[in-house]
Amino acid sequence: MPNTTSDAPLKILVIDENPIRRAILESGLRDAGFENLTVLDDATGLLDRIYKVDPDVILIDLENPSRDVLEQMFQVSRIVRRPIAMFVDQSDRATIEAAIDAGVSAYIVDGLKKERVRPILEMTISRFSAFDRLRSELEETKSALKERKIIEKAKGILMKSRGLDEEAAYALLRRTAMSKGKRIVDIAESLVSTIDLLND
């Protein structure tokens, strides 16, 4: 069997439509010494690409509907030069679960030694998780910014209508929030939407 039992560098194919995540994974794999890497941003002409790259390992993100296309290709093994089998070993269930949790799926050439594949999978899972954290941090930042804007607007309304200075307007918002057991941003939001309603 060519390649699969030797120590030749593993050929890895990554299919991911998300450019940032793709870059994060690519740099992670390269830094870990996996240089034989092909990265695709979509799944068009997948069969031809697989035929050309002849990968030992295929990594595809779970948001990609073309995952079903890949699964079929592995059944039609006459077209792809070497039969590619999925990670069917039941003992690796934990790894499969971790990968799916992280949002990625891996397909491995049949007969490849587990020890050779594990570091690739571990790197992929950790990079996908890192991207996920990055994405949720970004969303948190965005919503924090939005909240600050609403509070500013509510302060402005209070300053204008009640003749308060900025500090007193904020203190009023905070006091109201505490007495009602709500967050400051919730009080600010209801104030802003009330004013919007009255001004319509």
């Binding site: 948001e63 990609n64 509907p65 073309s66 995952r67 079903d68 699964e71 069917v88 269930r93």
Partner: protein
Amino acid sequence: MSSLATARKRAPYLRIGYIPLADAAALIIAVDKGFAAEEGLDVELVREVSWSNVRDRLNIGQFDAAHLLSPVAIASSLGLGHVRVPIVAPLNLGLNGNAITVTTALHRALAEHSDGDITDPKVSARALAAVVAERKRTGQDPLTFGMTFPYSMHNYQLRFWMASGGVDPDEDLRLVVLPPPFMVESIANGHVDAFCVGAPWNSVAVDLGIAHILHFGSEIIERAAEKVLAVRASWASENPDLVTKLIRAHARAASFIEDAANRDEACRIIAAPNRVGVAPDLIRRTLDGKLKASPDGSVRSSDRYLLIGRRGAARPDPVQAAWLYAQMVRWGQAPMSAELLAEAKAVFRPDLHDEVLGAPPAAPASEPVDGVGAFDGPAFDANDVAAHLEPWLIKRC
């Protein structure tokens, strides 16, 4: 909101995965009309992009239940092509929603080569063989047909139909998997000449004026169990009360959908952007069984199209499971054995259905006597798969 209510909201009772297709209708109605909630079920429906994802998330427990291709439930239970995880199906979600749609060019070619009424699958299959032979003779590329998954009724319907006309689906043309949302695009840009897919995608292609519906799936197989409600066998035995509640909620949803008086409301809910996400009219045509079959506007009707609750559709029939297993054997996906046949049949669980809803009266006279009703070949005997496979010339076993 109390912290308990918050916690419950954050940890939905049941997560059910589905693919945005018309035959997810009963699940969508059960949740969005409140039938599930009335059973005390807090259900989150999770829309997925691939059958592989639905299968994997069900297998590892991220989903409690799923809208699943019935052959995938069987393949998963038998460990074909993937990790073996025993699955049971207490319900069918949809029968007969598939159709075979062909480009205008292929439709014309088939009509030119036809020796009779092209809506007869025997005639159209022979016409396909003639078109395939002519393309070979004139050095044109082989035709490409799209379907949704290797383990799907779509795949088996296409293969059964073609092979009946003498076309070998593995040698004479290309059979490729395409995700349902890409089907229409692929037929529009010429990547495929035809496809077999569930509603509403056939209608979408016809509406664009680029394709014709050649056959309703029920013209190939009169009673075709395409999708099931799938749960892990271990989950079903640990949670018999949840299975009962799911069956009850589904039964109410199915009769709501099948009652024509509710059609407008049902279509609006099913078609919503966060559910199937298409124009409600497309769902309406599907549920009415009246499909525009050609760009010229001609309509074909079938009262067998997309059975959700009527004609005893929701009750899983092990005969259907046996037929699906027979196709897996025929096309080289599964070895033949009495044990595997028994395991395949045991995936479909009419007993779970009957425990909750009662045993049905005898099958109505309108239904095929062998439970399948294929347009070609002898009647199917679920206990004798070898006899089913014996007469076919084109097979991989």
